[in-house]
């Protein structure tokens, strides 16, 4: 099943998502990217009902860009998260709710790194670490045990590796590869992590 994870460090946020796009019991794609770039320093990770995910995420993406064009500056991660949540909540009590679970990760030049957890019911919390999917049941406890505030990027990557190892060990479903990205004051960087891939 789909898995998202985010870890906030000293001056960055590390996020990862699995790369499987499935249709019933068939794996349609093994290199599917579940992250949507909202702006230079904000990523939206989106899982849930097929179709709803892309539809909702792209809608938010374009509206964040429109804000930038209209006003000449970008929405902060906090503002973007609240905007996203409001949309989810508004649509929840309509005839066409979106069934999506999200992590929003961003770096604000004044406030620093931020990670927001949102679910399909329109809940929003700012958290030091978070995860979505069945994998969350296994990895949140790992994060509880080993997370500490002010992690360096190496420490955060090690923590992420621990989580993936746990999944490979105890989770019945195979998650062969992951997309990993790091957001800091320099923007969004892709991280190549072949060690995460199951042998």
């Amino acid at each position: 099943m789909e898995y998202l994870i985010g870890i906030r460090g000293q001056d960055f946020v590390l996020v990862a998502s699995d790369n499987v796009a499935a249709s019933s019991i068939i794996q349609m794609k093994h290199d599917y990217d579940k992250m949507f770039k909202l702006s230079e320093k904000i990523l939206l990770l989106c899982v849930g009902e097929a179709g709803d995910t892309v539809q909702f995420a792209e809608y938010i993406q374009k509206n964040v860009q429109l804000y930038k064009m209209r006003n000449g500056y970008e929405l902060s991660p906090e503002a973007a998260a609240n905007f996203t949540r409001k949309n989810l909540a508004d649509y929840l009590r309509s005839r066409t709710p979106y069934h999506v679970n999200l992590l929003l990760a961003g770096y604000d030049d004044t406030e620093g790194p931020a990670l927001y957890y949102m679910d399909y019911l329109g809940a929003l919390v700012k958290a030091p670490f978070a995860a979505h999917g069945y994998g969350a049941f296994l990895t949140l406890s790992i994060l509880d045990r080993y997370y500490k505030p002010g992690l360096t990027s190496d420490e955060a990557v090690d923590l992420l590796k621990r989580c993936i190892e746990e999944l490979n060990k105890r989770f019945i479903l195979n998650l062969p590869s992951f997309t990993v990205r790091l957001i800091d004051k320099n923007g969004i960087q892709d991280m190549k992590m072949p060690l995460l891939d199951a042998k």
């Binding site: 792209e58 860009q65 064009m69 209209r70």
Partner: protein, 209 residues
């Protein structure tokens, strides 16, 4: 009978007076040389800033909407077409007046081709030739364009005419318009200003008579 009250009425000699008056508004001096940016297209407009804001907002929403539906950025022609179409609707609707705005829409398409279009209050648009001789013009401007030399309006015009003569232009039309600077209020697209071809074109637009 007065034929200039309601926009929807033609005069006996086939004029839409409201559209003519809108064009008058654009012609008058002290036009605002305000620049807005959306998606790599630079938008320079004359006269009524309030009208301009409305148009620009609609254009910006359309740009994002286009990206959302077809997953591709707009071409300069597309957005020009959209803006003109919008203006035309206001020449044929009840109870509305035309936009007192002419625009210069300038930018690069996704494949790199430069484009320059002009729209009028009537809703027509024209392409400026940034075509066949663009490369020669650009090369000449890159050689001889210097920021310090652009201080004097006469020098800018001279350079522009020289560039056109270089490529063998027989009939040259220069559009000039007075410009009233409104610094600080709008975001300008510096990347396009740095491109000599467009900097000249924009300066044509903003010249003092």
């Amino acid at each position: 009978m007065s034929y200039d009250r309601a926009i929807t009425v033609f005069s006996p000699d086939a004029h839409l007076f409201q559209v003519d008056y809108a064009q008058e508004a654009v012609q008058k001096s002290s036009a605002v040389g305000a620049r807005e940016r959306f998606h790599g297209a630079l938008y320079d407009h004359c006269r009524l800033t309030a009208d301009a804001r409305v148009l620009i907002n609609r254009a910006r929403v359309e740009c994002q909407s286009h990206r959302l539906t077809v997953d591709d950025p707009i071409t300069v022609e597309y957005i020009t077409c959209y803006v003109s179409s919008l203006k035309q609707h206001y020449t044929q609707s009840n109870g509305r007046r035309p936009f007192g705005i002419s625009t210069l829409i300038v930018g690069f398409d996704d494949d790199g081709t430069p484009n320059l279009y002009q729209t009028d209050p009537s809703g027509t648009y024209h392409a400026w030739k940034v075509g066949r001789s663009a490369k020669a013009v650009r090369e000449l401007l890159e050689k001889s364009y210097r920021e310090e030399d652009m201080e004097s309006d006469a020098l800018v015009l001279k350079l522009a005419v020289r560039a056109l003569l270089e490529v063998g232009a027989k009939n040259i039309e220069l559009a000039t318009r007075e410009r009233w600077s409104h610094e600080g209020a709008f975001a300008a697209s510096t990347s396009l200003h740095a491109h000599p071809t467009f900097a000249s074109a924009i300066r044509f637009w903003n010249q003092r008579r």
